[in-house]
């Protein structure tokens, strides 16, 4: 770089060039005096006529030493031809400006090489030459030094550990160093504004520099998300806005790649959230158990305010009743730098609670600096396990014991019962509960069950266990019962307690209940068998008409066994064609001729006796087998009727009465099923009469009315069987689409000599006549009976007097005789 030499005193005043000075040169003086170049003015002969004061400084010679010197002589021999050429060109008016690099021939103290410029200029009619010499070596050196600095600058900018970019005022990146390009995943040296948005999220940058910003004032700490293809990186950006001389602005960017740090912070934040939301207690404590960190669960448990700063000055954590031995064991483990795991009792708001603990020490030598604790409340887990355990053994609705718990308690009672002590099991079944549930709604049904449960619990108290066994079944176990009689009294007492009037929301019910009781007899008996016995007893009680208590006995057991045997036999009976139909003829009392018959089922097992319906129909009902059996009956009866009609001719209208069971009638599809069966048989529906019993209609009145109406629509007749034995009610007769009333045999048999029965039958007949119904008298066994019912106005008679149930052949033959009664 050029360095100005100390100015010689000679330079302090204008130097007279010592020769003729062109007048026009004078104005140049002020220019040339301060130029770091030597200036010479030569005449037309290229001889030096005038020298600038800087000659001394630049060339190290006095100006007068050059006066009159031919210009070419001033330069080294090798440069002289070039100088001469340039002189000639200048004199010819050339404006060649490339300086000639030349060294001097004269003794001088200046540089080794100079840049020489020669130009001609006219003055006072002459054409003079202005020659300037500048120290070329110092300029070149300075240029080289600057170029080196520039190169270094570029290298430095490319190698700083930060991305550096320059963004112009339009948002284009006009410069990016290598690091920045690497961060953005680009190769180009510039990025147009439209592409920038794809590479980085500028939201925060724009937000931060949106306000008034002074130039040269950096905006720092902006975290920018970079999105080079396929990944996300984070940069910490510092911006330096710039205002250029021409008014254009730009922004210097410096970017540190903080992806790893941001990811670590995100991980740490996630970890922190995890810890804060954990139900485990997490703490970091000094060796004196002063908390330095406590997560939310720990703060809640130990009563540390959530906003309290934990700076090691807080109170030490109290670990409740940790025993001295345990304290020493823990301390030793921690001193040795070992993790301690075990259970601790901690004192929380709700008293002592068990925790599983993991304590991790941070030691220096044998000194515990601090330790971390992860504590899990296993009290809740234990409580949860207990809850599950409880739920597994209790009924969710009534909270009573369930089968499992009852069995366990019963087994225990049976195992510990003394020689004279019995264990009683009472099985209670709420009558018609299903109907209540369906007609009044499950909410009331549940309420009824709850009331029943509470009633039984109050009565039994600590003397035994009350369990809910099924939908409407409760079982009570009482130990230390003295005798079968006292067990029966107990059962009856319980049964009475849950029977009677029950108040439910918006409705009062008259409840009845059926009970069965069994007691241990001292022999080897297990819980399952005694419960089964009580269940058999309640089943027996139901068969005997419900609303009663039955004590289990060997007879009950036998009947239960019989039921099982019968049910088992029934399952194969249809397939093996073991059922038979018998037909009991009926007489039309008006004409005195046979008008048809009632089909009656019998069961004939191979080698066994003919079994009547009373012995198997209830079992077929309860097992559901009645449905396929009932279909068979209809098919068979219709087929027989058609056969009779074919043989006896159409002029003799015969009717066939067929019994329908409650189970059949309850089927929603019963009408459809009957229609198919009738169509299949080809029998005119008007000659078919379906008989139903009163009790069947009680189960679900509305459904019965609906189904009966649909059956009636098929064209058949409907008869109410066994009238007078059940809840005979005028209501039924009015509401049900009945055509026929069949007066039970108990009123008819012996009617001739029983004025009360005669009065009842008369009333029924009058009732039927009033309602437009026809009336059939069953059980007509004597001529007196027949005369009496005929006199009372019955329409049809049926009974042994006319005929007992006959095989289809016998019945056909009887019909063929056409006897008169």
């Amino acid at each position: 770089m050029p360095t100005r030499r100390k100015r010689d005193p000679i330079q302090t005043a204008p130097i007279d060039p010592g020769g003729e000075r062109p007048s026009t040169v004078a104005p140049l003086w002020r220019y040339l005096a301060d130029v770091e170049a030597a200036a010479l003015v030569c005449d037309e002969h290229a001889e030096v006529q005038w020298s600038s004061p800087s000659v001394h400084e630049v060339l190290g010679v006095r100006p007068d030493e050059l006066h009159g010197l031919p210009l070419t002589d001033l330069f080294a021999e090798t440069a002289q031809p070039h100088i001469a050429d340039r002189v000639r060109l200048a004199q010819q008016g050339s404006t060649q400006r490339t300086p000639i690099s030349a060294s001097l021939a004269i003794d001088h103290a200046g540089a080794a090489s100079f840049d020489v410029d020669i130009v001609a200029f006219p003055t006072d009619g002459r054409r003079l030459l202005l020659v300037t010499l500048r120290d070329a070596s110092s300029r070149l050196a300075a240029g080289r030094a600057l170029a080196e600095s520039e190169t270094r600058f570029r290298n430095v900018v490319n190698n700083v550990p930060y991305g550096i970019g320059i963004e112009d005022q339009d948002g284009n990146f006009v410069f990016l160093n290598a690091r920045f390009k690497e961060m953005l995943g680009v190769q180009a040296n510039y990025i147009l504004r439209d592409e920038v948005a794809d590479l980085m999220d500028l939201a925060e940058v724009n937000d931060r520099r949106g306000g008034l910003q002074r130039d040269d004032e950096p905006i720092d700490d902006i975290t920018v998300r970079f999105t080079p293809e396929g990944e996300t990186r984070f940069g910490l950006v510092t911006l330096l806005p710039q205002e250029g001389a021409g008014g254009e602005s730009s922004t210097f960017w410096a970017v540190a790649d903080v992806t790893a740090r941001v990811r670590a912070e995100q991980d740490q934040a996630r970890l922190h959230r995890l810890m804060e939301t954990s139900s485990d207690l997490v703490l970091v404590m000094t060796h004196r158990s002063v908390p330095l960190y406590a997560n939310r669960a720990a703060r809640n448990f130990f009563g540390i305010p959530l906003d309290a700063t934990l700076d090691g000055e807080a109170e030490a954590i109290e670990f409740g009743t940790v025993g001295a031995a345990q304290v020493e064991e823990i301390a030793e483990s921690l001193r040795d730098g070992r993790i301690w795991e075990g259970e601790l009792l901690l004192l929380g708001y709700d008293g002592l609670e068990p925790f599983s603990a993991t304590l991790v020490p941070d030691t220096s030598g044998h000194r515990v600096l601090r330790y971390s604790a992860v504590l899990r409340n296993i009290g809740e887990r234990k409580a949860f396990e207990q809850r599950l355990e409880w739920e597994a053994r209790h009924d969710p609705l009534t909270q009573l014991a369930n089968r499992l718990l009852l069995g366990e308690r019963l087994d225990r009672a049976l195992a510990t019962a003394g020689p004279d002590q019995h264990v009683a099991v009472v099985f209670l079944d709420l009558d018609n509960f299903r109907m209540i549930n369906e007609s009044l709604g499950h909410r009331r049904g549940d309420r009824l069950l709850l009331q029943t449960a509470r009633t039984l619990e109050e009565l039994v108290g600590n003397e035994g266990v009350v369990a809910r066994f099924g939908a409407d079944e409760f079982v009570v176990m009482v130990d230390r019962v003295r005798s079968e009689e006292s067990a029966a009294e107990l059962a009856e007492g319980l049964r009475q307690a849950v029977s009677g009037r029950v108040e439910l929301p918006e409705v009062d019910l008259l409840m009845s209940c059926t009970a069965g009781v069994a007691i241990s007899d001292g022999a080897d008996v297990d819980s399952a068998s005694i419960i089964r016995d009580a269940n058999a007893a309640v089943h027996e009680a139901k068969l005997r008409g419900r609303d009663r208590t039955e004590v289990f006995s060997s007879a009950v057991r036998q009947r239960a066994l019989d039921r099982v045997t019968v049910e088992s036999g029934l399952r194969g009976a249809l397939r093996s064609s073991e059922f038979r139909l018998f037909y009991q003829p009926k007489v039309d009392l008006d004409s005195g001729r046979l008008a048809g018959a009632e089909a009656l089922i019998r069961w004939q097992q191979p080698g066994g006796p003919l079994v009547g319906p009373d012995e198997f129909v209830p079992i077929a009902e309860s097992s559901g087998l009645i449905v396929p059996i009932g279909e068979w009956v209809i098919r068979e009866a219709c087929s027989t009727l058609r056969s009779w009609t074919e043989q006896l001719g159409d002029d003799r209208p015969l009717h066939m009465a067929i019994n329908l069971s409650g189970r059949q009638l309850a089927r929603p599809t019963i009408a459809t099923e009957l229609r198919s069966l009738l169509e299949e048989s080809g029998v005119d529906p008007t000659v078919i009469e379906f008989e139903i019993t009163e009790s069947v209609l009680l189960d679900d009145v509305e459904r019965s009315i609906r189904n009966l109406g649909q059956i009636k629509d098929l064209g058949v007749r409907l008869a109410l069987d066994d009238f007078g034995t059940g809840y005979s009610s005028l209501t039924y007769l009015r509401r049900y689409p009945i055509d026929v009333i069949k007066i039970d045999r108990s009123f008819v048999s012996g009617i001739g000599s029983d004025p009360e029965n005669a009065a009842i039958v008369r009333s029924v007949v009058e009732l039927a006549q009033a309602l437009g119904l026809s009336c059939v008298a069953e059980g007509v066994e004597t001529a007196g009976d027949l005369a009496a019912i005929r006199a009372l106005g019955c329409d049809v008679a049926q009974g042994y007097l006319i005929a007992k149930p006959l095989s289809d052949g016998d019945a056909m033959r009887l019909l063929g005789y056409d006897p008169r009664y």
């Binding site: 770091e36 030094a145 600058f153 040269d216 950096p218 911006l239 410096a254 970017v255």
Partner: protein
């Protein structure tokens, strides 16, 4: 916060053109040295890079101007002014 963080305050606020050529080059050297310091803080980067760029521009302008000045004079002379 390292002590280097204060580098920004150390950066000269003198207009580069007011410095002598030698002083400008000396400062440029100093700025480049600081940019290569491994403890370089991001907050200083933009300021240092910008200062270096200004200094380079100033020196380059002045170096070129030394010649230009003479050329201007010659132009004046040739135009007869």
């Amino acid at each position: 916060m390292t002590e280097h963080h204060d580098d920004r305050d150390d950066v000269s606020t003198t207009a580069a053109d007011d410095l002598s050529y030698g002083a400008a080059m000396d400062e440029l050297e100093s700025v480049l040295t600081r940019l290569t310091d491994e403890r370089l803080d991001i907050d200083d980067v933009t300021v240092l890079v910008e200062r270096a760029a200004v200094l380079v521009r100033s020196c380059r302008t002045r170096l070129d101007a030394a010649r230009l000045r003479v050329e201007e004079i010659v132009d004046d002379l040739q135009s007869g002014r």
